[in-house]
C-alpha cells in the first residue's frame, strides 16, 4: 500500500488539470491518510496478539491433518468433506425440485428419459401413503435428509474421527438411512409402481455415492474405538471416547506407531 502521488507518473496525467482544487487535494491527501490508518490498525492487532499466544496450544500439539489409520489419508479433511457437502447439496436441490410438484407448486416435472414416468411415480399410491403418514411429501423428506447431511458434514474438526466419534456416527447413520431409503424407493418403482422417474434415480445414485464417500471416515472412527477398547480394556473408556472425552489410552490409540 505505497502512497501514490497523483499526476506525475500516470499516463492520464493531463486529465488532472480538469479536476477541481478540492478533488486534487483529496487525491493527494487520501492515499497517505489511508496508509496511516491501515498501519495504525496493523500495529494495534500486533500489540493485541503479543499479549496472549497467537495460536491455541492444541493446534501445535496435534497434527490436525494426520491420516486416520488404517487409511493413508485423512477422511475428515475439508477437501474430502467439501465434496460430500456439494454432492448432498445437489441431492437436496433435486429432491426439493421434485417436492415442488408434489406440493402442486409446479404443473409438470422435467424427465428426459421416461417422459410422464416421473409424474406417475410422484403421484403414485405409495407416495400418497408416505405423505399421509408423515404429513410431508416423500421428496421433501429426501430434501430434508440431504440438508441435515450437509449440516453434519460441515460440523466437526479435521480430526473429528478421533475427537467426536458420535458426530461421525450420526453422519454415517444419516448417510446409511438415505442410501437404504433410496434403494428401497427404486425397488418400489420397478416392482410396485411399475414406472420410472429419472431424477429419482439420479438422487438415489447420489445417495449411494455419498455412502461410498463417507464409509472411510466411519470405518476409521470405528477402528479407533476398537483400538481404545483393546488398550484400555474397559467399556467405560470407549463410551467416554465416543462422546469426545479425552483420556490417555485414547490419546495413545489415536495414531499407533507401527
Amino acid at each position: 500500500m505505497a502512497p501514490k502521488t497523483p499526476g506525475k507518473d500516470r499516463p492520464s496525467a493531463g486529465r488532472s488539470a480538469r479536476l477541481s482544487l478540492t478533488e486534487r487535494a483529496m487525491a493527494a491527501l487520501l492515499p497517505p491518510l489511508l496508509d496511516t490508518w491501515a498501519e495504525a490498525l496493523l500495529a494495534k492487532s500486533k500489540a493485541r496478539s503479543g499479549a496472549k499466544p497467537a495460536r491455541p496450544y492444541w493446534e501445535d500439539a496435534v497434527d490436525m491433518d494426520a491420516a486416520a489409520p488404517p487409511w493413508r489419508r485423512n477422511p475428515s479433511s475439508w477437501s474430502h468433506r467439501i465434496k460430500v457437502a456439494v454432492l448432498a447439496a445437489l441431492g437436496a436441490v433435486l429432491a426439493a425440485y421434485l417436492s415442488l410438484y408434489q406440493l402442486h407448486l409446479t404443473a409438470s416435472v422435467w424427465d428426459p428419459v421416461f417422459g410422464g414416468g416421473t409424474e406417475q411415480v410422484l403421484t403414485s399410491e405409495l407416495s400418497q401413503t408416505i405423505y399421509r403418514i408423515f404429513h410431508v411429501p416423500d421428496a421433501l423428506l429426501g430434501a430434508l435428509a440431504y440438508s441435515t447431511e450437509i449440516l453434519f458434514t460441515l460440523a466437526g474438526s479435521t480430526r473429528r474421527w478421533q475427537y467426536r466419534p458420535w458426530l461421525v456416527a450420526l453422519f454415517g447413520l444419516n448417510v446409511l438411512a438415505l442410501a437404504c431409503a433410496g434403494v428401497a424407493l427404486v425397488l418400489a418403482q420397478g416392482l410396485v409402481i411399475k414406472s420410472w422417474c429419472f431424477l429419482c434415480l439420479v438422487i438415489t445414485l447420489i445417495s449411494l455415492l455419498l455412502a461410498g464417500l463417507s464409509a472411510q471416515e466411519v470405518y476409521a472412527s470405528l477402528r479407533y474405538l476398537g483400538r481404545v477398547r483393546r488398550r484400555s480394556g474397559r467399556f467405560r473408556v470407549v463410551w467416554n471416547t465416543f462422546w469426545g472425552r479425552a483420556s490417555e489410552p485414547a490419546d495413545r490409540a489415536a495414531l499407533p506407531k507401527e
Binding site: 500439539a61 406440493l103 404429513h135 430434508l144 440438508s147 479425552a246
Partner: protein, 118 residues
C-alpha cells in the same frame, strides 16, 4: 459457531413466516407459534454461544415445532404447518451440533493444555 448463526437465521425465517406464507389472521395459533418460537430460537441460539448446554433448548424447540406442525396441521397440511415441520427438523439437527464444533472437544483441549503444564 456457525450452527448458532444458522439457527438465528432460521429463527428469523420463522418470525417472517406469517408474512411469507400470507397466513390468515384467523390462524392465530399458527401465527403465534411462528412468532414465539422464531424469537425463542434466535434468543436461545445467541445465548447458547456463551452458555453451551443451552443448545438443548433449541433441540426442544425443534421437536415442538415438528410435533405441533404434525398434529395441528393434519393431512394435507397447509403451507404454514409444513414450514413448521421443515424448519423444526433443521433447528433440531443444528441443535445437535456443538458451538465449538470446528475445534477438538473441550475435554481434548483441556487434555493438551494439561500436557503442556506437566
Amino acid at each position: 459457531m456457525w450452527p448458532r448463526i444458522v439457527e438465528v437465521m432460521l429463527g428469523l425465517w420463522l418470525v417472517l413466516g406469517p408474512l411469507i406464507f400470507r397466513l390468515e389472521s384467523s390462524d392465530l395459533a399458527l401465527i403465534a407459534n411462528h412468532l414465539v418460537y422464531g424469537t425463542a430460537t434466535v434468543v436461545a441460539a445467541l445465548i447458547a454461544i456463551r452458555v453451551r448446554f443451552l443448545r438443548v433448548v433449541t433441540i426442544a424447540i425443534g421437536l415442538w415445532l415438528i410435533g405441533y406442525g404434525y398434529v395441528a396441521g393434519g393431512y394435507p397440511a397447509a403451507p404454514g404447518y409444513l414450514n413448521l415441520i421443515v424448519t423444526g427438523v433443521l433447528v433440531c439437527a443444528l441443535g445437535l451440533i456443538p458451538t465449538d464444533c470446528l475445534q477438538p472437544t473441550h475435554s481434548w483441549r483441556e487434555y493438551y493444555a494439561n500436557q503442556r503444564r506437566e
